[in-house]
Structure formats: structure tokens, C-alpha cells
């Protein structure tokens, strides 16, 4: 199984729209949405059945037993995250608590314990031979890196014999992105032709290079800024990175997405450009082209 990951650095570049187009074009039997903070892929890939849901446990959170509590304040005094407050009773702020266990350790009457907390939910959609793995992290939670790894593992375990698996990655450059990149064969970066988009694209390339995965770059909404588009193409040549193509801004794309179907389901400029980028990307992935 070869894994192709789609990343963007900055949010809002069109990663999910393009990923869903690739899923349609490849007719892949295994795909995943690693944007666990704000998963969107399920909205556009017409799932027919209910998914199998599994609770995902993140950091344990502290809980104070008010019956045992003697209100000495030692917990609040020692909490470095301002997670303990007292209005009427001593209580832990669920969102601020980092599960460090200091309060549990300093409480003289053992009134505090760390309890496993459900940080999110894994979802697996199975439709015949097709598997789609995704997850939703609950509000205010960290640990997205680990959940991303679980999503990919879930996809791998549930899939049968698959040639190419497609992964819609998470935005940003932090831990969840690094977890997305781990173990994949190729990364396609969707760049936005803006000052902030270029800055984020460069940071992503730096991270992906460290992992030794194949990298290709394409530009979305390129005609919103031709100067920056040229800058990106030049940068790719300088860095020796294959440039997979560029997609124009296309109002029809928005219409397609809002109606729940992919840009390659209709006849539109962005769909046509995406098809070309897809062909080139797959050739690079399968070693049929150096790019």
C-alpha cells in the first residue's frame, strides 16, 4: 500500500476539496481524514452508513472528591496551570488541567485522583470494500498527534489489499502534521499564493524533508496572485521539488462542495486542472516520473 498525504501548511487552501477529488479519481478503497481538530472530509464523500465509533482517551484529568476535601488549598497553590479554583468548593477546570498529577500527589487527604478523560472519538466508515477512517477531537484538547496516528492505524487495519491510500492531512506545521507525515510515501503540498501561504509552505517543506518522503507542490487559486504563483514555481525549481501544477480560482468549485460533491464530478476549470495534477502526482508516487 502506498500512502499519499495531502498537506497545506496554512488553513483554507483547499486541501479537503482537492483530497476529495483525488479520492474520486483514484477510486481508492482506503482513505483517511487526519484533520482531527476540524474534520471535513466526511461532508463531501457521501457516506452511506453510520460509522463505527470508538472513544479516544487523551490526558487524564484531575477530579476532586468534595466529600474528602478539607479545603487546605495545597492543590491550588501548587498547580502551575491555574486549573484549580475555589468559589464555593475546590474544583478543577477541565480544559486547563494538563493531567500532571501534582495536585493528586500533594493532597494530604488523597481527595484528588486522575481519571481517564475522553478526548475525542474515532470513526470508521465501511462501505463494501471501501474504508474511511476519521476522528473528531473534542473541544479544548491537545494530543491531536496521537489521535492522528490512531486514525492512520485504523485505516491500515481495516483495509484489504489497496494500491494507493489517500490521506487528507491537518493544517499547520506542528505535531499533528508530523504524525500525519510519519510512514507515508509521498506528500503533496497545496500552496496558497499569498505571503502567509508561502511562509507556511516553506515551513512544511522543511518538516517533510526531514522525514525523507517524496514531496511535490501544487498551487490552488493561483490566479488570485500571479506574482506569488511565479515565486512559488521558482522556489520549487531552486529546491529541486517537482511542481505538479496549478488550479485557478473557480466559483463552480464552491457550488460543487456546497452541494456535497467533488469538483471532478462536474465540468469546471478547477476540476480539469486537478485531474492533470492528479495524473502527475500518481506518476511521481509510483516512480514512473521523477518530476
Amino acid at each position: 500500500m502506498k500512502q499519499l498525504l495531502i498537506l497545506s501548511g496554512k488553513g483554507g487552501t483547499g486541501k479537503t476539496t482537492i483530497a476529495s477529488a483525488f479520492i474520486k479519481l483514484s477510486d481508492t478503497k482506503a482513505y483517511a481524514d487526519c484533520d482531527v481538530d476540524a474534520p471535513n472530509l466526511h461532508l463531501i464523500t457521501q457516506q452511506v452508513s453510520e460509522p463505527k465509533k470508538t472513544d479516544y482517551y487523551g490526558l487524564s484529568k484531575a477530579e476532586i472528591d468534595t466529600v474528602l476535601c478539607i479545603a487546605c488549598g495545597k492543590c491550588m497553590e501548587n498547580c502551575r496551570f491555574d486549573a484549580i479554583s475555589t468559589e464555593v468548593i475546590y474544583q478543577v477546570d477541565y480544559f486547563a488541567c494538563e493531567g500532571c498529577g501534582v495536585c493528586e500527589a500533594v493532597c494530604p487527604v488523597k481527595a484528588i485522583s486522575l481519571k481517564p478523560a475522553v478526548a475525542g472519538e474515532l470513526m470508521l466508515y465501511v462501505n463494501g470494500k471501501k474504508v474511511f477512517s476519521t476522528a473528531q477531537l473534542r473541544m479544548g484538547n491537545g494530543n491531536s498527534g496521537l489521535l492522528v496516528s490512531e486514525v492512520k492505524k485504523q485505516m491500515k487495519n481495516a483495509s484489504g489489499k489497496v494500491d494507493i491510500a489517500l490521506i487528507d492531512g491537518s493544517p499547520g506545521i506542528g505535531c499533528p502534521v508530523i504524525a500525519s507525515i510519519s510512514g507515508v510515501d509521498m506528500v503533496l503540498i497545496i500552496a496558497e499564493p499569498s505571503v502567509s501561504g508561502i511562509s507556511d509552505m516553506e515551513r512544511i517543506i522543511k518538516t517533510a524533508t526531514k522525514f525523507g518522503t517524496k514531496i511535490a507542490v501544487c498551487i490552488n487559486k493561483y490566479d488570485t496572485n500571479l506574482e506569488n504563483t511565479d515565486k512559488i514555481e521558482e522556489y520549487c525549481i531552486e529546491q529541486g521539488l517537482p511542481f505538479a501544477g496549478k488550479i485557478p480560482f473557480d466559483q463552480d468549485a464552491v457550488k460543487a462542495v456546497n452541494n456535497g460533491y467533488s469538483i471532478v464530478d462536474i465540468d469546471c476549470p478547477s476540476g480539469t486542472a486537478t485531474k492533470e495534477i492528479y495524473t502527475k502526482t500518481i506518476k511521481i508516487l509510483l516512480n514512473e516520473m521523477v518530476g
Binding site: 488553513g11 461532508l43 487524564s60 502551575r80 494538563e98 500532571c100 500533594v106 491537545g142 499564493p193
Partner: protein, 286 residues
Amino acid sequence: MRIAVLSGKGGTGKTLVSVNLAVVAKKSIYIDCDVEEPNGHLFFKPMVTEEKEISMQIPKVDEAICNGCRKCVDFCKFNALAYIKGKIIVFDDVCHSCGGCMILCPQKAISGRNKSIGKIRAGSSDGVVVYTGILNTGEASGVPIIKELLSGIESEHNKTIFIDCPPGSACIVMESIKDADYCILVAEPTLFGVHNLNMVYELVKLFNKPFGAVLNKCLEGENPAEKFCIEKDIRILGKIPFDRQLGTLNSNAKIAVKENKKYEEQFSTLLDAIIKEAPYETATNT
């Protein structure tokens, strides 16, 4: 008054809205809380007057006193300590700075040393005071930087504070809106936009913050984000139509309201709507 600008996802127009509102408000303060990828300074290009290093405490073990009991290694929930060949090794990047090892060491062999995690830059640009929070690449949490950014600002009379929040609804966003008086939810007119709008809608409700929505990149035809706002009875403060010219200016890091009267009027109208709405909302919530 503190106004926080947030959205469920990156790329919806948080920075566009907060930067341009700060400029039309004239006497204002702009705070960039998107410490992982701050962008506001690219637009303001502020003259930096002050820079402050933000650090957190990492354990330092005095080997002479350490007796190898390993209480610290066994306690650490983040696996930041290891005991090899009679020595404790501390892993800075995994340490959450909870202080537990220091408190629990029976020999009191552990003390704290400072590790820089980022910085705050203060500056100004044409009357707008600009604060930028920057988290060093690879650092775990931006929460301490945001805490510092927001606590240091004295609410100056007559100055509106615009807080450019990080995208999403994770802890750093929660920290950014904690002391906000009013929240602006920026949404785009797509199916994805609604899904993400819902996330921040839930967040502001959870924190009991008064809020309103700004619909960005509006096109002709049905707007799912508008539909959502109507369904949930969310006040729509304004609509910014999709505009190629605006997009180009933004992608070149230009402040739209300074480049074209049309945008100055657009954002002034939006600011008026917010000012009208916000104090009323704040009053009814206290």
C-alpha cells in the same frame, strides 16, 4: 473593550477582519494570539519598541545530592525524565513544566532553570499598538505566551482591543477568549465553513461570551453559513462579499482599508455595527 476574532479553521479571514477593524477604529490595540503562525505583523509592519522573552521552568538535577531513588522518573506523566547509569536526563521538549518532580524529590535535588519558549514583540503602526506573540518552532504550548500577552495590556480608556485568535477551538483559543467582552465569529460560505463555524459557536456559548458573526467571501446564491446563523439566531454583524481585488491585496499583505476608500467604508460600517451590538450584549450579560 476587548473584542476577540475567531473562526473554526484557518483561512476564513480572521486576520483580514481584525487587522482592518483595528485600523478603522483608529485608536486601538491589535494583539496577535495566533502564536504558532502569527500573520498580523506582516500587514502592520510595526516599528518594534520592545521585545520580551517568555520562558518556562525546566528541572535541573543536582547530581551530588541525587541518590537515584527514581521517584521523579516514575512520577512524570510526560516521560520527560530518564535514569541512565546513575544520572537523571531531562528532556526539555517533552517537559510540561508542572513542577511535580521538584516538589516530590525527597532529597530536594531538583531546582528550576529557565527555558525560552517564545517571545512577545510590542510596537506600533500608524496609531495602532501592535502586540505579536511568537512561539518557537517545535515548542509544545503557546498558552503561557497568550497569558502574558493578554495580562500585560492595561485596558486604556477609549482604546478598543482586537484579539486575533488562533484557528480552531483548542486550549490556545480558549485562553485567547477568556477575558474577551465580545466575540466575532468569522465564517465562509461553504459546507466546510458551516461545520467549522459550529465549532466556535459551541465554544463561545460554553464560555458564555456575547458574540456575532461576520460572513466573509460571500458569493451569489445560497450561503450555508448565513442559513446556519439564521437557524441558530446568531446576529450577523456584516457580510464581506468575495472580491478578487480584496483577495489580492490581502495576499500581498496590504491593509485593504488603507488602499481603497471602498474598503475603508465597508469596514467602518462593520465596526459601527459591532460597537452598537457589543456594549448592549456585554451589559445584558453582567
